[in-house]
């Protein structure tokens, strides 16, 4: 029956009953917009984390005593170098500096000019800055959040750190880190390694932790065991564990939304079901009348199926499109706070546009199947009853 006349009638029905369809489309678009936004945000965060973790070292070794992290001896680095299969051993100096008056903290990261890896990474991050000049004085590179925060608290151009030995250390703001790195570097202060040691109270033979790479992934499990046996207080973490902890956090937040979505969708499907079943007698009468006028059960089901598919597809496309604009062009106000909120400093994160088509297909199926079933099951039930009964 899918001839010109059928399509003509279908278009006519959709147009003439547009108020009925518009309300259904609007609710669907809202649900899909929210769900797609949440999934776009979590895909984008996951992508950014993956990209960040790609350039991170494979392993991090630190010293743990009584459950607390303490300074790691620099000499451990030499021991690591002696182990076959380990490369790029890099000691790191970093730590939190608390701005107690406002209960905020900054992440201080020390960079060794003589250490090639850190040097290169930093140069990549701030391509326009002359690194050599940066290492010449007591200077720091700050994240966008730090910069805004310091300026708001009248620290323009420099900041006085109170070191653990009770003296003040004035450090000049050399430049700001690019906003693309805000997800991780928003509250970061990058400074030469000796300066960082002083501010954090570390000795010259001490570091916060030591990183290294193990190029052969088959050796990762064995390496963890081997290192744990080296010192009783040696704590080792690999990149996959870091990735998992981040994913757990964002999956938890995304999962909460998914639960809410399923509840909303269930309610919506119930409303639709009622609309097309006993509650809306006009629907029943229309179907009964079509049957009385010579339409077969298949004809009626085909009409309602295509009508429903048009509503489903247009809602889906519109909802996903609006979500894309909201997340990747507007920056997802409100929802961003839910995902990145609770952060130390106000953060401006621009989400990298990432569209995961498998996720989009899942959204479509989760949304479309209950929707189509909620419409077609009652339509089918009415269609198979005698037209006279349906028209009553």
């Amino acid at each position: 029956m899918t001839n010109n006349a059928f399509w003509h009638f279908l278009t006519l029905q959709l147009f003439k009953e547009r108020s009925k369809h518009t309300s259904v489309i609007l609710i669907s678009v809202m649900i899909l917009f929210l769900l797609s936004s949440v999934l776009f945000i979590s895909s984008s965060i996951r992508f950014s984390l993956d990209e960040t973790l790609k350039v991170q070292p494979d392993f991090v070794v630190s010293r743990l005593q009584g459950g607390s992290s303490i300074a790691t001896p620099l000499a451990w680095g030499d021991e690591l170098l002696d182990i076959y299969g380990i490369s790029k051993v890099t000691p790191r100096v970093y730590g939190r500096y608390y701005f107690t008056a406002k209960e905020k903290s900054f992440l201080i990261v020390g960079v060794d000019f003589m250490e090639e890896q850190s040097h290169e990474r930093l140069q990549k991050l701030i391509e326009t800055t002359d690194i050599k000049t940066f290492f010449e004085g007591k200077q720091m590179l700050v994240g966008a959040g730090v910069k805004t925060y310091l300026e708001a608290h009248f620290y323009k151009g420099s900041y006085n750190f109170l070191t653990p030995d009770g003296t003040f250390e004035k450090v000049k703001v050399f430049n700001t880190l690019p906003t693309q790195s805000n997800l991780l570097a928003n509250d970061m202060m990058v400074m030469p390694i000796d300066l960082a040691r002083k501010v954090l109270g570390l000795g010259s033979e001490e570091v916060s932790d030591i990183t290294f790479n193990v190029p052969n992934p088959d050796e990762w499990d064995m390496m963890t065991d081997k290192l744990s046996a080296l010192h009783y207080d040696l704590h080792v973490v690999n990149k996959n564990e870091v990735r998992k902890s981040y994913e757990n956090l964002y999956n938890y937040k995304g999962g909460l939304f998914l639960m809410l979505f399923i509840i909303v969708l269930g309610t919506f499907a119930l409303i639709l079901y009622q609309r097309y079943s006993m509650v809306y007698s006009s629907e029943r009468r229309h179907i009964g009348l079509l049957r009385a006028l010579g339409w077969s059960i298949n004809d009626v089901l085909k009409l309602k199926l295509i009508e429903t598919l048009i509503v489903v597809f247009s809602s889906f496309i519109l909802g996903v499109f609006l979500a894309y604009v909201y997340v990747f062009m507007v920056g997802a106000p409100i929802l961003r706070e839910i995902f990145l909120g609770g952060q130390n400093l106000d953060n401006v994160v621009s989400f990298v546009p990432v569209v995961d088509f498998s996720v989009l297909s899942s959204i479509f199926l989760i949304y479309a199947l209950p929707f189509i079933a909620a419409v077609l099951v009652p339509v089918w039930r009415v269609s198979v009853t005698d037209p006279k009964e349906a028209m009553l």
């Binding site: 001839n3 006349a5 003509h8 003439k16 009468r285 006028l293 010579g294 077969s296 298949n298 005698d386």
Partner: protein, 226 residues
């Protein structure tokens, strides 16, 4: 079976379950209607004439017995065939007109032809012809919700005629019309009769007692033909 027989009803019974009781709406109906005949099913409300009409149209299923349209048992046919038979052979005019109020006159009349697979051009020409016959062509673009009772009735007639069916079934066609419109309807019925259509009217309206054209009145009382 005679070649002139259009509708044949054999030992037809229809019962409904109501409040735990079985209510017999039609009892042992036997009736034969010839091609081109006009039959008036006459009876008070609740006499079973509408139910009998619905069974003839295949809108309802008998509890027992048969309804044959040109020898085909309509209630036994699979849905696709029964629907095709309804679309091609039977034009139904309902008491409450049963129009799609959000569609125009012409669009309402188009509906029975949609499943036929005809091209839009052909459908348009059939709709025009039918609307002219039902004398409602001048209102073809008007929404059904804006029509008067008589205009709705003529739209329903147009819709019943659009597929050029052999049988026209009318359920209380003048119940919602004033006298002038009722007489107009009878004129249209006369024209249809002259075209050789088989017409069955279920009514209690006295206007159908003495029609100006040949007709057979079948009185019904309590679900039986008397």
């Amino acid at each position: 079976m005679s070649g002139d027989m259009m509708i044949q009803i054999e030992n037809l019974n229809r019962t409904f379950a109501h409040a735990g009781n079985e209510v017999k709406v039609l009892q042992d109906i036997n009736l034969t209607i010839q091609k081109g005949e006009c039959v008036i099913l006459k009876g008070v409300s609740g006499s079973g004439k509408t139910t009998l009409l619905s069974l003839m149209a295949g809108l309802d299923k008998p509890s027992s017995g048969k309804v044959l349209i040109e020898g085909e048992p309509i209630s036994k046919l699979p849905d696709a065939f029964a629907s095709e038979l309804r679309a091609k052979k039977i034009g139904m005019i309902f008491q409450h007109f049963n129009l799609f109020e959000h569609l125009s006159v012409a669009e309402n009349v188009t509906i029975p032809l949609i499943p036929s697979g005809m091209k839009m051009k052909e459908i348009h020409s059939k709709v025009e012809r039918s609307l002219t016959l039902a004398n409602i062509i001048h209102k073809k673009e008007i929404l059904a919700s804006r029509l008067s009772g008589g205009e709705k009735q003529r739209t329903a007639i147009g819709r019943a005629l659009v597929a050029n069916p052999d049988i026209i079934l009318c359920d209380e066609p003048t119940a919602n019309l004033d006298r002038d419109n009722s007489l107009l309807f009878i004129d249209i019925l006369k024209e249809l009769h002259s075209m050789g259509k088989t017409i069955v009217v279920a009514t209690h309206d006295p206007l159908f007692d003495n029609l100006s054209f040949e007709s057979r009145v079948i009185p019904m009382v309590d679900g039986k033909i008397v």
